[in-house]
Structures are given as C-alpha cells and as structure tokens.
C-alpha cells in the first residue's frame, strides 16, 4: 500500500467512513477515550471557526 493510500484510508477511518483501520494504525474503535478526544477536538474547531454572520467584523473593540 502506498503512503498516500494509507493516509487516505487512515483519514477515512478517523472521519467514520470506514470501520476498519489500515494496517499499522494503532487506534481501534474500542479506544473510547481517543474517540472522545478526537470528536471533541473536531467540535472545537467547528466552534472556533464558525459563528460570524455579519459583513462588518468588529473584533477589536
């Protein structure tokens, strides 16, 4: 398996598209604390980058 293909599968596994991790990927679905941390981090990123709806961005005052 090429590195690129492995990365693609690993990302698909992390995003929930595949149930099986590629060979050598150390995290199983049973590892609940990793998945809590992972989805918590994803939620934080969505939270931090969303929310601005107005055209005028008034952040410095």
């Amino acid at each position: 398996m090429t590195n690129l293909n492995w990365m693609k599968q690993a990302l698909e596994y992390l995003a929930g598209e595949q149930d099986e991790a590629p060979a050598g990927f150390g995290v199983t679905l049973a590892n609940w604390w990793f998945w809590a941390l992972w989805w918590g981090a994803m939620l934080f990123l969505i939270y931090a980058f969303s929310g601005q709806s107005s055209k005028f961005i008034y952040i410095d005052f």
Binding site: W32, W33, G40, Y47, A48, Y58, I59
Partner: protein, 325 residues
C-alpha cells in the same frame, strides 16, 4: 469491528466532559469582557455627576479628564463614560439601568449619536449577538427582549444559548482565530490601516453608500418616532432626576458635506429636535465641531487629540448652559 454500547457511551461522555471544560474556560476567559469591564467601573464611580452613553463614537470621543476640566467638576464628581462600542440603543439602555440600580445619581445624562441611530428600529437575530451585543444574553435578558423581535427559531436558540458562555461569548474564541487569519492574510500584502478600534476601512461599511440613498432615508426617518429603547433612556434618566442631553456627534468633513449639509438632514434634525424637545431633552449639534479630516482616525471616529478638544468643549458648553439657567 463492533463498538459496544458502553464504549460508545463512554466516548460521548468524554466529548461532553470536554465541552463542559470548554464552557468553563470560555466563562473564565470572558469574565473581563468589555461590557463586564465597563459595568465593573460603576460601583467605584457612584459620585459621578455626569453619565455618558452611546456607541464607540462616544466611547472614543469623550475623554473623562478633558470633559471634567471643561465642565469644571470637582474630583470624583466628574463624568463616567459608559459608552460601549458596537452597541445598539438597547445595550445602552441596559447600561443606564445598571448604573442607576447601582446607586449612580447623575445630574446629567449625555447620549451621543450619529445618523439614524435614534429612529432606526433595532433588528437582531441570534447570529448578530456577538461581541458587545452578547450582553443581551446576560444583563436583564427578559427585559431587553421587549425591545427587539426574534423569530421563533431564534427565540428557542436564545433561550438555550443564554445559559452557556460557550455560546454567548463565542466571539472570545472566534476573534482570536480571526486575528490570526488577518495576520496570515497580511503576509506579503501592503499594510492595512488599523487603529485602536480595528481596520479603518471596515468602518466605511457603516456609511451610507451615496447621498441620494441617505436623503431617501432622511425622508423615511423624518416620519418615525424615537425608537422605544431611546425613549426609555430619556424617560428613565428623567425620572431619576437627570437632565438629558443628546449630542449629534462630530463627524468627518466628508460625511458632513455628503450627508449632514443636505436640506433633508436639516429637516430630519428639526424632526429630532421636536421629538426630543417635547421630552425636555437638550439637543447639541456638535457635528461640525471637528472641521478637519486629519482629526479622524477613520470614517467615524475622532483621533485622541480631537477627542480631547471635543470633550473639553462639550464640558465648557454644558457648564455655560447650566450657568445661563
């Protein structure tokens, strides 16, 4: 591989724990947010004889020591500037109420405004309640809700979100991301003009696009009454025994020439004077007080030097006015 129900539940609880921690972190990070800092000034300033309210034009434009010098007030009996940047008359009313409930008995309440602030209805959605508007979530939220309309969807969202700093003060996190994004977007680009308030060009977005559009709006606005939060500011300040003074704030010469020197604005100003005069409010037209473009940081705000001059002159003007009475 199958995931057991217990493992799924544990993962969900872990995510919930992280969100709870984030909620707490945002609450701690925003305990000194601008509206809270402003309100925290009130208990130490209950002897102030003048209270200033308004948006960033007043926040930047009224420099307390210069005003006190102009009006000749004794130490600790001067002005308290409670103006809040990027605020609507609703937040300004909430700040007045907070000050009065905290024991402030100002002899004079000054309210600075520009353009159609006094007659343009406040329209808000929960998506707009960011930055300083966030105080609508935590300062008398039920009372404030009487002054703006929310769709039923936004109403539900509001009721849920107001209990979580994670949502109400989201901008504390978002602003840092935005500042980082701006720093990156500046790489290799000509430097943008900024000042203490933000990007100078951003304030052009608050300007009317053209003189004809402004004149049209003058026509509409000249048929409107004062919006309810402004009327309430006048009523509650008057009932507290304060003399109420409305100031048409100084604007840059280009703004004055394009908008305020038109007959349509003169008519609108006359309309405002009538509405306010009926409520025994003193009207000061200071729009032409700063006749030089160099006295402004951006299309709206005065420089610090101009603010010093304006504040002193305003103080002197109020002193002369009180001596005449």
């Amino acid at each position: 591989m199958k995931v057991s129900r217990v493992q799924l539940l544990l993962a969900l609880m872990g995510v919930l724990g992280l969100l709870t921690g984030l909620n707490k972190a945002v609450a701690v990070a925003t305990r000194n947010s601008i509206p809270r800092r402003l309100m925290a000034r009130v208990p130490a300033a209950t002897d102030a004889s003048v209270l200033a309210l308004g948006n960033s034009l007043v926040a930047v434009g009224i420099v307390e020591p210069a005003f006190d010098q102009g009006i000749g007030s004794r130490q600790n009996r001067g002005i308290l500037n409670l103006a809040l940047g990027a605020s609507s008359p609703i937040e300004q009313l909430l700040l007045l109420r907070y000050a009065l409930h905290s024991g402030l008995h100002p002899a004079t309440v000054i309210y600075g405004f520009y353009d159609f602030q006094l007659t343009h209805p406040v329209e808000l959605a929960t998506g707009d309640m960011i930055g300083n508007h966030a105080m609508l979530y935590y300062v008398e939220p039920e009372y404030a809700r009487g002054f703006y309309h929310l769709s039923w969807h936004d109403r539900i969202e509001f009721e849920i979100m107001r209990h979580f700093p994670l949502f109400t003060d989201q901008q504390a996190v978002w602003a840092r991301v935005e500042q980082f994004r701006r720093r990156i977007s500046q790489q290799g680009m000509p430097e943008e003009k900024t000042n203490a308030l933000g990007r100078a060009n951003d304030f052009e977005l608050l300007e009317f696009p053209s003189t004809p559009a402004f004149i049209r709006e003058c026509g509409h606005a000249s048929r409107r009454d004062l919006i309810p939060p402004v009327s309430e500011i006048v009523r509650q300040a008057s009932e507290a025994g304060s003399k109420v003074v409305f100031i048409e704030m100084p604007m840059p010469p280009a703004h004055v020439a394009s908008f305020y020197d038109t007959p349509a604005w003169q008519r609108y100003r006359g309309h405002l004077k009538t509405l306010l005069g009926n409520k025994q409010v003193t009207y000061i037209d200071a729009s032409h007080w700063m006749p030089d473009e160099s006295m402004f940081l951006d299309p709206l705000h005065m420089t610090y030097e101009a603010s010093l001059r304006f504040s002193q002159r305003l103080g002197e003007s109020l002193r002369e006015d009180s001596q005449r009475r």
